[in-house]
């Protein structure tokens, strides 16, 4: 049995959960169930939905929401805060390095072929200096916990980490429904996030942009699964939400089509993948892109956030080296540890992985969203054999990790409070300076025993509290 976030080893309620425990006792499970229904009605009405690719069914389904907050004490948060910032700094330093001198490769710390042969590496970016040397402006770091003191990083997200709208909406709905709870507890507010995001984006405007740069959010459109989030962020920042068809490039500058005629755009927070942003540079078959966008970017006419090619830093194979990056670039000891990981690209490790698949979690290096993984202890013999076959065929495409004893957080069950596995994604903003809201997205695997928390795999969400001292 892993660590249960609500209690300590002796079974006593941890002090940061004391208030919530009192609240549960007061309202009762039935009372909370009623409130949960109310919350769901509100979610449905205001249209917070999440479409899932390729699953059919309701294209605008709700992500299940759990009423009980996941809570960090002030002391816990201080560690996380420092560790997250440290990691975000190292990741950006790495990105600058690999698109310039590649010193970490020359020093033999990171193998060159892992970088230069990687699909996420963008040769077009070599030698280019993005404003402020920032490549990943919003770094989402997936963190799990294995015991009271053990936080580990599961994954870095340097491109367009999603889910921050849930951080804000979950809080909003909790405050709307349980004001008394907030009145009696010192929960650090997260509502500065949109302002921080806008400030970050303005800070990285191109040199010629003037004192009040025009920022837009670029979405593939209303059929995208994260469209709600795109519109939500644009709305809270008070900037235009544009689709590719609203933009065009002229003279290495980017313009949006407005009722007043063309208007210059300085910074694009794009929620479209590298491959699709510019059919002239990347995929010619992209129907989503803006022709000439990348040229405008390289010419300094516009800033793209994140920078094309930033994905090399959150590749699952590169992930292994992040602690080394921290030592290499920052000369600091890593504050947050990686989850132990075997690289199938190395013959010894590959042999071990194939031998022990039944007790490991194996992942595709390029996969995301919980697809294409094998959870050894839950898999059948046939599944394990088939997966082993795939690993042998292309070992470099796979990594494996131990099945971790993920912590569980309290979740509202039908009759009692139950423990379900959780992970956590905070969002670190990187501009001229760093900004980190005290909170993030807690995802929860609502099925008993399940380790998969991805929303695309039926996981849910809950509010995350960071308590003030």
């Amino acid at each position: 049995m892993g660590f249960f976030e609500m209690t300590d080893r002796s079974g006593a309620v941890r002090s940061c959960y004391a208030q919530v425990q009192r609240w549960v006792d007061e309202v009762g499970i039935d009372g909370l169930q009623l409130r949960l229904k109310e919350a769901e009605t509100i979610f449905r009405r205001i249209g917070i939905t999440f479409a899932v690719y390729g699953e059919g069914g309701d294209p605008e389904r709700l992500i299940p929401f759990d009423l009980l907050p996941r809570i960090f004490s002030a002391a816990e948060w201080r560690v996380l805060d420092r560790g997250i910032r440290q990691r975000a700094r190292a990741l950006n330093a790495f990105l600058y390095d690999v698109y310039h001198r590649g010193e970490i490769i020359r020093a033999g710390v990171v193998p060159g072929e892992l970088v230069y042969r990687n699909r996420a590496f963008e040769p077009e970016m070599i030698g280019f200096d993005p404003p402020g040397r920032v490549y990943s402006h919003i770094v989402g770091i997936d963190i799990i916990r294995t015991d009271e003191d053990g936080f580990q990083v599961l994954e870095d997200n340097c491109r367009t980490p999603s889910g921050v709208s849930y951080m804000l909406e979950n809080r909003e709905i909790m405050q709307r429904m349980f004001p008394e709870l907030f009145a009696s507890t010192r929960v650090a507010p997260v509502d500065s996030y949109p302002n921080d995001l806008l400030a970050t984006l303005k800070e990285v405007a191109p040199a010629g942009a003037g004192s009040d740069p025009t920022v837009v959010v670029l979405t593939p459109g209303s059929f995208n699964s994260a469209y709600y989030e795109h519109s939500f962020l644009a709305d809270l920042m008070g900037v235009e939400l544009v689709e590719p068809m609203d933009l065009y490039v002229d003279d290495d500058k980017v313009w949006m089509k407005t009722t007043h005629g063309p208007k210059r755009v300085d910074v694009i927070y794009r929620r479209i993948d590298d491959d699709f942003i510019d059919p002239l540079t990347f995929r010619p078959d992209s129907m989503l892109g803006v022709a000439g966008l990348f040229g405008a970017y390289r010419a300094g006419g516009v800033t793209l956030c994140s920078a094309p090619g930033a994905g090399i830093a959150d590749d699952k194979a590169i992930y292994l080296f992040v602690p080394d990056m921290i030592r290499f670039y920052l000369s600091e000891a890593p504050i947050l540890q990686n989850v132990p990981t075997w690289r199938c690209a190395l013959p010894d490790e590959c042999a071990y992985v194939v031998e022990h698949l039944h007790e490991l979690v194996a992942k595709e290096v390029h996969g995301s969203g919980g697809y294409g993984m094998l959870i050894g202890p839950k898999a059948t013999r046939a599944e394990i054999a088939a997966y082993a076959e795939r690993i042998r065929a292309a070992p470099a495409d796979f990594i494996a990790q131990p099945t971790l004893d993920l912590s569980t957080a309290p979740v509202l069950g039908t009759r009692e409070i139950v423990g379900r596995h959780v992970d956590f994604r905070p969002y670190c903003l990187v501009g001229k300076r760093m900004r980190l809201a005290p909170g993030g997205l807690t995802r929860v695997a609502l099925t008993e025993g399940s380790l998969v928390v991805n929303s695309s795999q039926g996981g849910g969400v809950k509010d995350t509290w960071v308590l003030d001292d």
Binding site: R45, I46, S231, D235, V242, T258, T259
Partner: protein, 311 residues
């Protein structure tokens, strides 16, 4: 504002207005259908004609309430049905979420799948409730606009779209009914005429306004035409709607620092309406007048699209 946003808002407002007008028309038809006599069959046919959907029922066969409920309320394949209009209004709204207030969006979003649960039999049974629901949705949306939306150009496009659609619906209703408004018609003063007039007034929620404006009394073609074409106080009159359009176009012109063909078209139409008396309209031919006015609404719609770079 993005041109795409302006266009979406403009059409969103039109779809909402259209859904509501169609609900009112169905209500009018229903009201006529419960009256004694054979006249209601003709009424259902005329409801179809106002919405431009009479081509959907071939030949001269009598149009029944079931046809109407299917075609104008439920039919997803008919772009003028209430269901299609509400769906498109929501899609447009969703595409420009950032230009709507939370309340406006909630009004569009709440219960939007309701009509999906209805088959024909159930929809007929609950028809009155469904019509009320459509009207309530439109009212809630307008209320959210009234109290929450910034009076920026998004608001102007929204109002212009709504007013254009409303003017068009009034004109089409009058066009379909024009023969009953003709004073020369042989059956003037008959029972049938009385019902036709009241039905026109009811479809536009104008019956009470009529009596207030004209101090009660009989229905006469001149007064009805006066109320529905020329009265600047009645919110569904052509004059009122064009007044709104003109006012919002002027605001746009000030904000943009330039005028367009749309401004001239709207101004010309307004001065035409102001200088008229209902008698003149009859002299020039009611049908011709309506046709000309309908052509103006179409032209305006095109000119606005051009001036503000839609598509």
């Amino acid at each position: 504002m993005l041109s795409r946003t302006a266009e979406n808002i403009f059409w969103m407002a039109r779809y909402i207005e259209r859904a509501e007008s169609t609900a009112r028309l169905i209500q009018m038809g229903q009201r006529m259908a419960i009256l004694p006599g054979p006249i209601h069959r003709e009424e259902w046919r005329s409801v179809l004609r106002v919405t431009g959907c009479d081509g959907l029922i071939e030949g001269d066969r009598p149009v029944a309430e079931a046809d109407i409920v299917h075609l104008l309320l439920l039919d997803e394949g008919n772009p003028s049905s209430i269901r299609a209009c509400l769906q498109r209004a929501r899609n447009n709204g969703r595409a420009v979420r950032t230009a709507l207030t939370q309340d406006m969006w909630e009004a569009l979003n709440e219960d939007w799948r309701r009509l999906e649960h209805y088959d024909l039999a159930r929809a007929r049974r609950d028809l009155a409730e469904l019509i009320d629901w459509v009207k309530t949705r439109a009212s809630t949306f307008r209320g959210a606009v009234e109290t929450g939306q910034l009076r920026n150009e998004g608001h102007d496009f929204l109002r212009i779209g709504g007013a254009l659609e409303r003017a068009e619906m009034t004109l089409r209703l009058l066009d379909v009914k024009y023969y009953v408004l003709l004073p020369e018609t042989a059956v003037v003063g008959g029972v049938r005429d009385h019902y036709q007039w009241t039905s026109v007034l009811h479809a536009l929620s104008a019956a009470r306004a009529y009596h207030h404006v004209y101090g009660g009394g009989d229905y006469t073609p001149w007064r009805i035409a006066d109320l529905l074409f020329l009265n600047p106080q009645f919110p569904r009159s052509v004059s009122f709607c064009f007044g709104q359009i003109g006012w919002h176009l002027e605001r746009l012109a000030r904000a943009h620092g330039r005028r367009s063909a749309a401004h001239d078209t709207a101004a010309t139409m307004l001065s035409e309406l102001h200088g008229r008396e209902s008698g003149e309209i009859f002299e020039g031919g009611l049908h011709e007048f309506v046709q000309t006015a309908l052509a103006v609404t179409n032209r305006l719609s095109r000119e606005i699209a051009q001036a503000y770079h839609f598509a």
